[in-house]
Protein backbone atom coordinates (compact mmCIF):
# COMPACT_ATOMS: atom_id res chain seq x y z
CA UNK A 1 0.00 0.00 0.00
CA UNK A 2 1.50 3.23 -0.97
CA UNK A 3 1.27 6.15 1.37
CA UNK A 4 0.43 9.59 0.23
CA UNK A 5 3.08 12.07 0.50
CA UNK A 6 2.03 15.55 0.72
CA UNK A 7 4.37 18.10 -0.57
CA UNK A 8 4.13 21.41 1.21
CA UNK A 9 5.08 24.46 -0.61
CA UNK A 10 5.98 27.40 1.52
CA UNK A 11 5.45 30.86 0.30
CA UNK A 12 7.19 33.97 1.39
CA UNK A 13 5.39 36.13 3.80
CA UNK A 14 4.98 39.67 2.71
CA UNK A 15 3.97 42.14 5.32
CA UNK A 16 2.86 45.50 4.27
CA UNK A 17 3.34 48.21 6.72
CA UNK A 18 1.22 51.22 6.23
CA UNK A 19 3.03 54.31 7.08
CA UNK A 20 1.01 57.39 7.75
CA UNK A 21 2.97 60.40 6.84
CA UNK A 22 1.97 63.61 8.42
CA UNK A 23 2.88 66.40 6.20
CA UNK A 24 1.75 69.96 6.39
CA UNK A 25 2.95 73.36 5.56
CA UNK A 26 1.87 74.83 8.99
CA UNK A 27 2.46 73.17 12.31
CA UNK A 28 0.08 74.13 15.12
CA UNK A 29 1.39 73.54 18.63
CA UNK A 30 -0.97 72.56 21.37
CA UNK A 31 -1.49 75.46 23.69
CA UNK A 32 -4.01 77.05 26.04
CA UNK A 33 -4.12 80.34 27.82
CA UNK A 34 -6.02 81.64 30.80
CA UNK A 35 -6.69 85.31 31.41
CA UNK A 36 -7.37 86.93 34.77
CA UNK A 37 -8.82 90.42 34.85
CA UNK A 38 -7.93 93.03 37.44
CA UNK A 39 -9.53 96.41 38.11
CA UNK A 40 -7.83 98.93 40.37
CA UNK A 41 -9.84 102.00 41.25
CA UNK A 42 -8.31 104.70 43.36
CA UNK A 43 -10.17 107.01 45.65
CA UNK A 44 -9.76 110.67 46.24
CA UNK A 45 -9.09 112.84 49.25
CA UNK A 46 -10.88 116.13 49.25
CA UNK A 47 -12.61 118.32 51.82
CA UNK A 48 -14.77 121.37 51.74
CA UNK A 49 -15.05 123.91 54.51
CA UNK A 50 -17.81 126.45 54.82
CA UNK A 51 -18.40 129.18 57.39
CA UNK A 52 -21.94 130.14 58.31
CA UNK A 53 -24.39 131.15 61.06
CA UNK A 54 -22.66 134.24 62.43
CA UNK A 55 -23.65 135.50 65.85
CA UNK A 56 -22.04 138.27 67.85
CA UNK A 57 -22.12 139.29 71.48
CA UNK A 58 -20.82 142.15 73.57
CA UNK A 59 -20.45 142.96 77.25
CA UNK A 60 -23.70 144.05 78.83
CA UNK A 61 -24.14 145.94 82.03
CA UNK A 62 -27.74 144.91 82.28
CA UNK A 63 -27.62 141.25 81.42
CA UNK A 64 -27.01 139.06 84.48
CA UNK A 65 -24.52 136.96 82.50
CA UNK A 66 -22.51 140.02 81.66
CA UNK A 67 -22.82 139.55 77.94
CA UNK A 68 -25.64 139.94 75.50
CA UNK A 69 -26.26 138.70 72.00
CA UNK A 70 -26.28 141.47 69.46
CA UNK A 71 -29.18 142.11 67.15
CA UNK A 72 -28.50 142.58 64.32
CA UNK A 73 -25.64 140.12 64.43
CA UNK A 74 -23.50 142.33 62.27
CA UNK A 75 -23.25 145.10 64.89
CA UNK A 76 -21.47 145.16 68.23
CA UNK A 77 -22.85 147.06 71.18
CA UNK A 78 -20.37 149.94 70.84
CA UNK A 79 -20.66 150.30 67.10
CA UNK A 80 -18.20 147.78 65.79
CA UNK A 81 -19.22 145.57 62.89
CA UNK A 82 -18.92 141.93 61.92
CA UNK A 83 -19.19 140.46 58.50
CA UNK A 84 -18.98 136.85 57.41
CA UNK A 85 -18.69 136.57 53.66
CA UNK A 86 -17.06 134.02 51.35
CA UNK A 87 -15.51 132.24 54.29
CA UNK A 88 -13.91 135.41 55.65
CA UNK A 89 -14.90 136.90 59.01
CA UNK A 90 -14.17 140.62 59.19
CA UNK A 91 -14.45 142.44 62.49
CA UNK A 92 -14.00 146.16 62.75
CA UNK A 93 -14.08 148.55 65.70
CA UNK A 94 -14.26 145.80 68.29
CA UNK A 95 -13.69 146.49 71.95
CA UNK A 96 -12.80 144.15 74.81
CA UNK A 97 -15.62 141.69 75.38
CA UNK A 98 -16.84 141.70 71.79
CA UNK A 99 -16.98 138.22 70.27
CA UNK A 100 -18.10 136.72 67.00
CA UNK A 101 -19.07 133.10 66.62
CA UNK A 102 -19.67 131.12 63.48
CA UNK A 103 -20.09 127.53 62.40
CA UNK A 104 -17.31 125.90 60.41
CA UNK A 105 -18.67 122.90 58.50
CA UNK A 106 -16.05 120.52 57.18
CA UNK A 107 -17.25 117.87 54.74
CA UNK A 108 -15.26 114.95 53.42
CA UNK A 109 -16.07 115.30 49.74
CA UNK A 110 -13.60 112.64 48.68
CA UNK A 111 -14.29 108.98 48.18
CA UNK A 112 -12.04 107.64 50.91
CA UNK A 113 -11.83 108.20 54.64
CA UNK A 114 -9.56 111.05 55.55
CA UNK A 115 -7.93 112.30 58.68
CA UNK A 116 -8.21 116.00 59.42
CA UNK A 117 -6.43 118.75 61.22
CA UNK A 118 -7.22 122.43 61.52
CA UNK A 119 -4.39 124.92 61.75
CA UNK A 120 -4.80 128.47 62.93
CA UNK A 121 -2.34 131.19 62.13
CA UNK A 122 -2.83 134.55 63.82
CA UNK A 123 -1.27 137.76 62.57
CA UNK A 124 -1.87 140.87 64.65
CA UNK A 125 -0.69 144.42 64.15
CA UNK A 126 -1.11 146.50 67.26
CA UNK A 127 0.14 147.18 70.71
CA UNK A 128 2.52 144.97 72.58
CA UNK A 129 0.73 141.91 73.83
CA UNK A 130 -2.30 142.55 71.66
CA UNK A 131 -1.96 139.24 69.88
CA UNK A 132 -2.41 137.40 73.17
CA UNK A 133 -5.65 139.24 73.77
CA UNK A 134 -7.14 138.25 70.46
CA UNK A 135 -8.71 134.99 71.48
CA UNK A 136 -9.64 132.02 69.30
CA UNK A 137 -11.77 129.16 70.58
CA UNK A 138 -12.84 126.11 68.58
CA UNK A 139 -15.28 123.53 69.89
CA UNK A 140 -16.46 120.22 68.55
CA UNK A 141 -19.83 119.97 70.16
CA UNK A 142 -19.21 120.79 73.78
CA UNK A 143 -15.60 119.65 73.72
CA UNK A 144 -12.64 121.86 73.01
CA UNK A 145 -11.17 121.07 69.63
CA UNK A 146 -7.38 120.87 69.53
CA UNK A 147 -5.84 122.94 66.77
CA UNK A 148 -2.57 122.35 64.91
CA UNK A 149 -2.44 118.57 65.29
CA UNK A 150 -3.79 115.42 63.62
CA UNK A 151 -4.57 114.11 67.09
CA UNK A 152 -7.69 116.21 67.38
CA UNK A 153 -10.18 113.41 67.78
CA UNK A 154 -11.65 111.89 70.89
CA UNK A 155 -9.09 111.24 73.62
CA UNK A 156 -6.30 112.56 71.46
CA UNK A 157 -6.74 110.06 68.66
CA UNK A 158 -6.63 111.01 65.01
CA UNK A 159 -9.86 112.44 63.72
CA UNK A 160 -10.99 110.43 60.71
CA UNK A 161 -14.00 111.34 58.60
CA UNK A 162 -15.69 108.78 56.40
CA UNK A 163 -16.67 109.84 52.88
CA UNK A 164 -19.51 112.39 52.94
CA UNK A 165 -19.27 112.66 56.73
CA UNK A 166 -19.43 116.11 58.25
CA UNK A 167 -17.52 117.72 61.08
CA UNK A 168 -19.21 120.73 62.63
CA UNK A 169 -17.02 123.11 64.61
CA UNK A 170 -17.99 126.23 66.48
CA UNK A 171 -15.41 128.98 66.10
CA UNK A 172 -15.36 132.03 68.35
CA UNK A 173 -13.13 135.03 67.89
CA UNK A 174 -13.14 137.54 70.68
CA UNK A 175 -11.16 140.33 72.24
CA UNK A 176 -10.35 139.50 75.81
CA UNK A 177 -12.45 141.66 78.10
CA UNK A 178 -9.35 142.22 80.21
CA UNK A 179 -7.43 143.75 77.34
CA UNK A 180 -6.08 147.14 78.28
CA UNK A 181 -5.72 149.92 75.79
CA UNK A 182 -2.26 151.30 75.81
CA UNK A 183 -1.30 154.96 75.90
CA UNK A 184 1.71 156.34 74.12
CA UNK A 185 4.41 158.55 75.60
CA UNK A 186 2.64 161.54 74.20
CA UNK A 187 -0.46 160.56 76.10
CA UNK A 188 -2.34 159.59 73.01
CA UNK A 189 -4.31 156.43 73.11
CA UNK A 190 -2.84 153.81 70.88
CA UNK A 191 -4.95 151.63 68.69
CA UNK A 192 -4.85 148.33 70.50
CA UNK A 193 -5.20 146.26 67.32
CA UNK A 194 -5.04 148.05 64.01
CA UNK A 195 -5.17 144.90 61.88
CA UNK A 196 -5.47 141.23 62.59
CA UNK A 197 -6.13 138.09 60.65
CA UNK A 198 -6.74 134.60 61.85
CA UNK A 199 -6.36 132.09 59.08
CA UNK A 200 -7.94 128.71 59.63
CA UNK A 201 -6.73 125.98 57.30
CA UNK A 202 -8.27 122.54 57.15
CA UNK A 203 -5.88 119.80 56.07
CA UNK A 204 -6.95 116.33 55.00
CA UNK A 205 -4.94 113.24 54.26
CA UNK A 206 -5.62 109.59 53.58
CA UNK A 207 -6.57 107.87 56.79
CA UNK A 208 -3.75 105.32 56.74
CA UNK A 209 -0.99 107.87 56.46
CA UNK A 210 1.11 108.77 59.48
CA UNK A 211 0.72 112.32 60.71
CA UNK A 212 4.41 113.04 60.31
CA UNK A 213 4.30 111.79 56.72
CA UNK A 214 1.34 114.05 55.97
CA UNK A 215 3.08 117.02 57.60
CA UNK A 216 6.05 116.54 55.34
CA UNK A 217 3.96 116.02 52.26
CA UNK A 218 1.72 119.02 52.97
CA UNK A 219 4.56 121.26 54.06
CA UNK A 220 3.21 121.74 57.57
CA UNK A 221 5.75 123.18 59.96
CA UNK A 222 4.95 122.23 63.51
CA UNK A 223 7.53 124.49 65.10
Amino acid sequence: MKTKKATILSAGLIALLCVAVIAGATFALFGVSRENKIVVSTGSVDVSAAASDLTTSSLSATDPSGTAVNDPVTSFATGGTAKLEDGVLTLTGVVPGDSATFTLTVTNTGSVSAKLRVNAVKEVTGSNGAADKLLLSVKNGSENFTLDTWACGTDGADLVLAPQAVLTLTVTVSLDKNAVQSVGEDGAVEQFISAATIKLTVYAGQANAAGTDLDGALGINND
Binding site: L29, F30, V32, R34, E35, N36, K37, D46, Q206
Partner: protein, 227 residues
Protein backbone atom coordinates in the same frame (compact mmCIF):
# COMPACT_ATOMS: atom_id res chain seq x y z
CA UNK B 1 -1.58 -12.62 -10.80
CA UNK B 2 -0.56 -9.87 -13.33
CA UNK B 3 -3.97 -8.93 -14.48
CA UNK B 4 -5.09 -7.84 -11.01
CA UNK B 5 -1.98 -5.64 -10.45
CA UNK B 6 -2.43 -3.75 -13.66
CA UNK B 7 -6.03 -3.11 -12.92
CA UNK B 8 -5.17 -1.75 -9.50
CA UNK B 9 -2.67 0.79 -10.86
CA UNK B 10 -4.95 2.21 -13.40
CA UNK B 11 -7.64 2.65 -10.82
CA UNK B 12 -5.52 4.78 -8.53
CA UNK B 13 -4.49 7.13 -11.22
CA UNK B 14 -7.99 7.85 -12.16
CA UNK B 15 -8.98 8.62 -8.61
CA UNK B 16 -6.25 11.13 -8.23
CA UNK B 17 -7.11 12.91 -11.38
CA UNK B 18 -10.69 13.14 -10.38
CA UNK B 19 -9.82 14.74 -7.15
CA UNK B 20 -7.64 17.36 -8.73
CA UNK B 21 -10.27 18.46 -11.19
CA UNK B 22 -13.14 18.81 -8.71
CA UNK B 23 -11.49 20.82 -5.92
CA UNK B 24 -10.83 24.60 -6.18
CA UNK B 25 -7.24 25.48 -6.00
CA UNK B 26 -6.08 27.96 -3.41
CA UNK B 27 -2.63 29.46 -3.76
CA UNK B 28 -0.58 29.39 -0.72
CA UNK B 29 -0.76 32.81 0.77
CA UNK B 30 -0.74 34.53 4.02
CA UNK B 31 -1.43 38.12 5.15
CA UNK B 32 -0.34 40.17 8.07
CA UNK B 33 -2.22 43.12 9.49
CA UNK B 34 -0.50 45.93 11.32
CA UNK B 35 -2.78 48.05 13.38
CA UNK B 36 -1.83 51.68 13.63
CA UNK B 37 -3.11 53.48 16.70
CA UNK B 38 -2.64 57.24 17.07
CA UNK B 39 -3.71 58.89 20.28
CA UNK B 40 -3.46 62.68 20.41
CA UNK B 41 -2.28 63.94 23.75
CA UNK B 42 -4.23 66.50 25.74
CA UNK B 43 -2.82 69.77 26.97
CA UNK B 44 -4.95 70.72 29.93
CA UNK B 45 -4.16 72.97 32.85
CA UNK B 46 -5.68 74.24 36.02
CA UNK B 47 -4.85 77.58 37.61
CA UNK B 48 -5.70 78.09 41.27
CA UNK B 49 -4.92 80.93 43.63
CA UNK B 50 -3.94 79.23 46.86
CA UNK B 51 -3.05 82.23 49.03
CA UNK B 52 -3.57 85.97 48.96
CA UNK B 53 -1.72 88.29 51.29
CA UNK B 54 -1.75 92.04 51.52
CA UNK B 55 -3.15 95.25 52.90
CA UNK B 56 -6.63 95.63 51.55
CA UNK B 57 -8.70 98.78 51.18
CA UNK B 58 -12.36 98.83 52.07
CA UNK B 59 -15.03 100.85 50.28
CA UNK B 60 -14.01 103.91 52.27
CA UNK B 61 -10.37 103.58 51.35
CA UNK B 62 -9.34 102.50 54.81
CA UNK B 63 -6.43 100.07 54.68
CA UNK B 64 -6.51 96.93 56.77
CA UNK B 65 -3.58 95.59 58.68
CA UNK B 66 -1.71 92.94 56.74
CA UNK B 67 -3.76 89.80 56.40
CA UNK B 68 -3.81 86.52 54.49
CA UNK B 69 -6.58 84.58 52.77
CA UNK B 70 -5.93 80.87 52.33
CA UNK B 71 -9.01 79.56 50.57
CA UNK B 72 -8.42 78.22 47.06
CA UNK B 73 -9.90 80.25 44.22
CA UNK B 74 -10.16 78.48 40.87
CA UNK B 75 -8.95 80.80 38.12
CA UNK B 76 -8.98 78.19 35.36
CA UNK B 77 -12.13 79.61 33.79
CA UNK B 78 -11.87 83.06 35.31
CA UNK B 79 -13.27 84.74 32.21
CA UNK B 80 -16.48 82.75 32.65
CA UNK B 81 -16.67 82.61 36.44
CA UNK B 82 -15.52 86.16 37.10
CA UNK B 83 -13.11 84.93 39.76
CA UNK B 84 -10.11 87.13 40.25
CA UNK B 85 -6.73 86.57 41.78
CA UNK B 86 -6.97 89.84 43.68
CA UNK B 87 -9.41 91.80 45.83
CA UNK B 88 -8.84 95.24 44.34
CA UNK B 89 -12.53 95.43 43.60
CA UNK B 90 -14.50 95.39 40.39
CA UNK B 91 -17.12 97.41 38.59
CA UNK B 92 -19.93 95.80 40.54
CA UNK B 93 -18.27 96.23 43.93
CA UNK B 94 -15.80 99.09 43.67
CA UNK B 95 -13.10 99.51 46.26
CA UNK B 96 -11.32 102.82 46.57
CA UNK B 97 -7.66 102.06 46.77
CA UNK B 98 -5.13 104.42 48.26
CA UNK B 99 -1.34 104.52 48.31
CA UNK B 100 -0.08 101.78 50.59
CA UNK B 101 -2.39 99.09 49.24
CA UNK B 102 -0.72 95.89 48.07
CA UNK B 103 -1.78 92.34 47.32
CA UNK B 104 0.27 89.25 46.52
CA UNK B 105 -1.29 86.12 45.07
CA UNK B 106 0.19 82.61 45.07
CA UNK B 107 -0.79 80.97 41.78
CA UNK B 108 -0.59 77.18 41.35
CA UNK B 109 -0.45 75.91 37.78
CA UNK B 110 -1.09 72.16 37.36
CA UNK B 111 -0.73 69.87 34.37
CA UNK B 112 -4.05 68.04 34.15
CA UNK B 113 -3.30 66.65 30.74
CA UNK B 114 -0.59 64.41 29.43
CA UNK B 115 1.43 66.86 27.39
CA UNK B 116 4.47 68.61 28.79
CA UNK B 117 4.26 72.36 28.38
CA UNK B 118 6.17 75.57 28.75
CA UNK B 119 4.34 78.29 30.66
CA UNK B 120 4.57 82.06 30.63
CA UNK B 121 2.87 85.08 32.15
CA UNK B 122 1.92 88.25 30.32
CA UNK B 123 0.43 91.41 31.78
CA UNK B 124 -2.04 93.17 29.49
CA UNK B 125 -4.38 96.12 29.60
CA UNK B 126 -8.15 95.64 29.60
CA UNK B 127 -10.47 95.95 26.69
CA UNK B 128 -10.05 99.74 26.65
CA UNK B 129 -6.42 99.26 25.76
CA UNK B 130 -3.47 101.26 27.02
CA UNK B 131 -4.44 104.35 29.04
CA UNK B 132 -4.14 107.72 27.40
CA UNK B 133 -1.17 109.83 28.41
CA UNK B 134 -1.98 112.44 31.02
CA UNK B 135 -4.98 110.63 32.48
CA UNK B 136 -5.12 109.32 36.06
CA UNK B 137 -5.18 105.80 34.62
CA UNK B 138 -1.95 106.48 32.76
CA UNK B 139 -0.38 107.87 35.90
CA UNK B 140 -1.60 104.88 37.89
CA UNK B 141 -0.16 102.43 35.37
CA UNK B 142 3.19 104.14 35.85
CA UNK B 143 2.88 104.01 39.63
CA UNK B 144 1.63 100.46 40.23
CA UNK B 145 4.50 98.09 40.97
CA UNK B 146 4.27 94.52 39.70
CA UNK B 147 6.56 91.80 41.01
CA UNK B 148 6.67 88.17 39.88
CA UNK B 149 8.54 85.85 42.24
CA UNK B 150 9.40 82.25 42.90
CA UNK B 151 7.59 80.53 45.77
CA UNK B 152 10.45 81.40 48.12
CA UNK B 153 10.07 85.09 47.28
CA UNK B 154 13.06 85.39 44.95
CA UNK B 155 11.98 88.03 42.43
CA UNK B 156 11.97 87.06 38.80
CA UNK B 157 10.78 90.41 37.49
CA UNK B 158 9.81 93.71 39.06
CA UNK B 159 8.71 96.98 37.53
CA UNK B 160 5.82 99.33 36.96
CA UNK B 161 2.72 97.93 35.38
CA UNK B 162 3.30 100.07 32.30
CA UNK B 163 6.82 98.77 31.85
CA UNK B 164 5.77 95.19 32.54
CA UNK B 165 3.04 95.35 29.90
CA UNK B 166 5.54 96.79 27.45
CA UNK B 167 8.06 94.04 28.19
CA UNK B 168 5.55 91.40 27.12
CA UNK B 169 5.68 87.71 27.81
CA UNK B 170 7.69 86.45 30.76
CA UNK B 171 8.82 82.86 30.24
CA UNK B 172 8.66 81.01 33.54
CA UNK B 173 9.41 77.33 33.04
CA UNK B 174 8.26 73.88 31.97
CA UNK B 175 5.90 71.39 33.55
CA UNK B 176 6.35 67.90 32.28
CA UNK B 177 4.47 65.15 34.07
CA UNK B 178 0.75 64.74 34.53
CA UNK B 179 -0.36 66.28 37.83
CA UNK B 180 2.95 68.05 38.23
CA UNK B 181 2.59 71.70 39.21
CA UNK B 182 4.45 74.93 39.70
CA UNK B 183 3.72 77.96 41.86
CA UNK B 184 4.49 81.58 41.15
CA UNK B 185 3.83 84.69 43.22
CA UNK B 186 2.39 87.82 41.66
CA UNK B 187 2.31 91.07 43.64
CA UNK B 188 0.62 94.33 42.72
CA UNK B 189 1.30 97.38 44.86
CA UNK B 190 0.45 101.07 44.87
CA UNK B 191 3.44 102.36 46.79
CA UNK B 192 3.12 104.77 49.67
CA UNK B 193 5.51 107.68 49.24
CA UNK B 194 5.96 109.38 52.58
CA UNK B 195 7.28 112.74 51.46
CA UNK B 196 5.05 113.50 48.51
CA UNK B 197 1.40 114.36 48.34
CA UNK B 198 -1.08 113.74 45.57
CA UNK B 199 -3.59 116.55 45.89
CA UNK B 200 -5.61 115.60 42.87
CA UNK B 201 -3.79 117.81 40.44
CA UNK B 202 -0.90 117.27 38.06
CA UNK B 203 0.22 113.65 37.85
CA UNK B 204 -2.57 112.53 40.12
CA UNK B 205 -3.74 108.96 40.43
CA UNK B 206 -6.90 109.98 42.29
CA UNK B 207 -10.18 108.74 40.80
CA UNK B 208 -8.43 106.43 38.39
CA UNK B 209 -10.17 103.31 37.15
CA UNK B 210 -7.55 101.14 35.54
CA UNK B 211 -8.38 97.77 33.99
CA UNK B 212 -5.66 95.27 33.33
CA UNK B 213 -4.97 91.61 33.80
CA UNK B 214 -2.53 88.83 33.31
CA UNK B 215 -2.55 85.82 31.01
CA UNK B 216 -0.99 82.48 31.86
CA UNK B 217 -0.13 80.61 28.68
CA UNK B 218 0.81 76.96 28.43
CA UNK B 219 2.33 75.81 25.15
CA UNK B 220 3.42 72.26 24.39
CA UNK B 221 7.04 71.77 25.15
CA UNK B 222 9.12 71.16 22.06
CA UNK B 223 12.66 69.82 22.41
CA UNK B 224 14.76 70.93 19.44
CA UNK B 225 13.54 72.57 16.21
CA UNK B 226 10.44 71.66 14.30
CA UNK B 227 11.12 71.11 10.56
Amino acid sequence: MQKKAVLASVLIALVCVTVLVAASVALFSQSATVDTYLNAGELKISLVRTDLKGRFADKNGVLSAEKTFTEDVDLTDAEATGNSAFKFGNEQSPVFNVPGVWEEAWLKLTNLGNVAFDYSLTFIYGEEGAPVSGTPEYNLANKLLVTVSLPDGTPIKSGTLAQTVQDGKLELGTITATNAHATIRVKVELPYEADSVDDGTGDTVMNANLKFGFVITATQHVAGAIN
